[in-house]
């Protein structure tokens, strides 16, 4: 407590620092500490946007655009009476309702058993103990069933990694003040993330700041990075070429530890790595009287 009082950082800053350190523990640990296959590849931040070969696509469509569009326009005024068939419903959605019903039934059973148990505060015979044992067995079975249900949900919702990019900033710049980081994807998506004093202090102490996380196309692409702030607004843009792997999470870390405005964005050290999903953890369930 005393050491906390001596800390020069306000409470909010300490909280942010702690959060940043926790965040660091997983994805930004040294490569050796991360799971196998997540080694960091250092990539160059270019001053000029790399020029790539442009391949023409859909040439027939473009050459005959008026004809084809006219055919589609004609379709829109054509009325056709047909029986509309219902589309198939994903069977998992029906299963989710069943799972909810099972949970409700299990809750009722446990609640009933708990009420009854409360009414019998003292066990006067061996028969009561046997009954208690049966109740405990029933609760164990319900817990196992709950675990299985959680497993179903986990497989459906956490097992599907899509192609994602996570852009992180670490370190404090040697000179200037970075007020915000601007990331522009090739499709024009632009993300601006502002940094306040607390966050800059967290970065200086080894924290990380997430600028962007979202779905990206699984192809080679160039992303543009700019910093705004004292000294950095005139530093120009930097370009990083990366190729996110399909159905994987790719991290791009921009380390500012050696960065200075005079050398531009090229002084930022960029590292790439891919998160390889491990086997899903075994589902667990904490049960209590209200949530069996």
């Amino acid at each position: 407590m005393a050491s906390l009082r001596r800390s020069p950082l306000p409470r909010r800053a300490r909280a942010v620092l702690a959060l940043a350190l926790v965040l660091l523990a997983a994805p930004l640990a040294p490569p050796a500490a991360r799971a196998q296959g997540e080694s960091v590849t250092i990539v160059k931040v270019e001053r000029e946007k790399p020029v790539r070969e442009k391949r023409p696509t859909l040439r027939f469509l473009k050459a005959n655009r008026d004809f084809i569009r006219a055919r589609f326009d004609r379709l829109r005024v054509t009325t056709l009476e047909r029986r509309a068939g219902a589309t198939e419903l994903d069977p998992r959605f029906l299963r989710y309702r069943e799972l909810l019903a099972e949970i409700a039934r299990a809750k009722d059973s446990v609640a009933t058993a708990a009420d009854e148990r409360e009414r019998h505060a003292l066990f006067s015979s061996v028969g009561d103990l046997a009954k208690l044992e049966a109740e405990l067995d029933q609760m164990e079975r319900l817990l196992a069933a709950q675990g299985a249900r959680l497993g179903v949900l986990q497989a459906d919702f956490t097992g599907r990694q899509r192609t994602e990019l996570d852009v992180l900033v670490t370190g404090a710049a040697l000179a200037g003040v970075v007020d915000s980081v601007i990331v522009t994807l090739e499709d024009g998506t632009r993300v601006v993330a502002g940094l306040d004093d607390t966050q800059r202090q967290a970065l200086a102490r080894g924290g990380a700041f997430e600028v962007f996380r979202g779905l990206v196309e699984p192809r080679e692409q160039v992303i543009e990075i700019r910093f705004a702030g004292d000294g950095w607004s005139q530093a120009g843009s930097g370009y990083v070429t990366l190729e996110p792997t399909r159905d994987r999470l790719t991290f791009l870390r921009l380390d500012l530890a050696q960065a200075q405005p005079a050398r531009g964005l090229a002084s930022v050290v960029a590292g790439l790595w891919r998160h390889e999903p491990g086997p899903p953890p075994a589902p667990t369930a904490e049960a209590n009287r209200d949530e069996p």
């Binding site: 391949r55 859909l58 027939f60 569009r69 589609f72 192809r219």
Partner: protein
């Protein structure tokens, strides 16, 4: 001394052979590196769908065509796929080559076409149907060749505006092109015309 000279010559001969072998290997590998294998239209669908989902959650495939020359089995080294997003009212295309997305662009025209029907025949089966339905004869009679295969729903379909159809375009230096429309669900020839 003679023995040493012989050994030295042998070594030189061996290293010369190794260099020649490596050179021959490099020559053999060069075309393979330059030209990835041709593939049927469906093979690129999974990859391009992942890109489309990243672009827009409601993106649906509305059109595809070969981006490079076709072979006799309905395969091409590059295919182009066009998706439409109703929520964005935009269309975006991707081109697949060698298992990678090598081009991506937004279509600079309005193209709110209907989504392709599920279960469409792959390009190989469509080509086989078109060849039997007049394509082969056209090629033989007019020294023609298959230029384009495109898949869309409704626009070129005759009778059933809901049908997804392959359209195959055969060209010839001295004759009007042949168009063969194949029902992508059944493989039946819907119609042919010259123009």
């Amino acid at each position: 001394m003679d023995d040493l000279t012989r050994r030295s010559r042998n070594r030189r001969a061996e290293s010369g052979s190794a260099v020649a072998f490596a050179f021959a290997l490099a020559l053999a590998a060069a075309p393979a590196l330059a030209e990835p294998p041709a593939f049927a239209a469906r093979e690129g669908l999974e990859l391009v769908s992942a890109a489309a989902q990243a672009w827009s959650a409601d993106a649906v495939l509305v059109y595809l065509e070969n981006d490079e020359d076709l072979d006799g089995a309905g395969r091409a080294t590059r295919w182009g796929y066009l998706f439409h997003s109703p929520s964005q009212a935009r269309a975006r295309a991707w081109s697949v080559r060698g298992g990678k997305l090598v081009a991506a662009e937004n279509l600079d025209m309005r193209f709110d076409a209907p989504a392709l029907g599920a279960g469409w025949l792959d390009s190989g089966a469509a080509l086989a149907a078109a060849e039997a339905g007049g394509g082969e004869r056209f090629r033989n009679d007019h020294r023609g060749r298959l230029l384009t295969m495109l898949l869309m729903r409704g626009a070129l379909s005759e009778g059933d505006p809901d049908a997804t159809t392959w359209t195959l375009v055969y060209g010839s230096p001295g004759a009007p092109s042949l168009f063969v429309v194949v029902d992508a669900a059944t493989g039946r020839i819907q119609r042919t015309w010259r123009g």
